[in-house]
Symmetry: C2
Subunit: 112 residues, 2 copies
DNA sequence: CAACTATATGCGTATATGCTCATATAAAGT
DNA sequence: ACTTTATATGAGCATATACGCATATAGTTG
């Protein structure tokens, strides 16, 4: 995006949509729960504290966005992180947030 | 986020909020327009094709999120990208999308 | 086939937020 | 002081979407 020619309107829409998928705390919780390997829906319900219906919906959203992969095994459905850029993305955002926050703390202390 | 202990609920909220700021095409257009240096509001209105009111609002959102910085010079207000992780973030997402899309194209062609 | 378990989905509601129009503020020139 | 230009903001409307409840589907076991 930086050194390339400007993205088309369609491409911008896709990028925005992808960020939107990551803009829900429950979906981030699910992603976080899957960092240490695949889990089935019941396990994810337990790990996140959400309702089964809501977890199921969010898993669908994440799968449609090709962020998670799905594997059926009998009655169980296992989900896993299928997009390798997701951990890096989260790290980048977390790092940036930490810097911003610690700078704010420093300014607050300097002002007091 | 990956190798660290799970984020607190508050931290997840912050991360989600940050992704949400990036989940709007108009804001991405503004960021894109600022990749080659700072611009004032009127220039950004022209570059993005949005209304002045709407552009101003989005600039406020991006500034509040510490993604953009602001500099007043007489009547003009210049904005610039102040978070160095933003270009990397956009590149990551774009790269991931390209891979996903080209894989989909390949599958479509293999099926036909 | 009936009962049970795991997962998905239809529907209604509440909330958030992007957009537009009009107007307010701020800075500069006459 | 008045006008003009640049930017910000208040209010209202329209849309999107997250959540809860109930129910549907799929697969397994008796």
């Amino acid at each position: 995006m930086s050194k390339h020619r400007p993205l088309s309107e369609d491409a911008l829409q896709l990028v925005a949509q992808r960020f939107a998928v990551l803009a829900e705390p429950m979906r981030l919780r699910l992603i976080q729960a899957l960092f240490d390997g695949e889990k089935n829906v019941t396990e994810l319900v337990a790990a996140t504290g959400g309702t089964q219906a809501n977890v199921s919906r969010h898993l669908q959203t994440l799968t449609a966005a090709h962020i998670l992969g799905r594997r059926k095994e009998g009655l169980l459905v296992f989900y896993r992180i299928s997009d390798p850029t997701i951990p890096k993305l989260c790290e980048l955002v977390c790092g940036s947030l930490e810097k911003t926050l610690s700078r704010q703390v420093a300014q607050f202390e300097a002002a007091g």
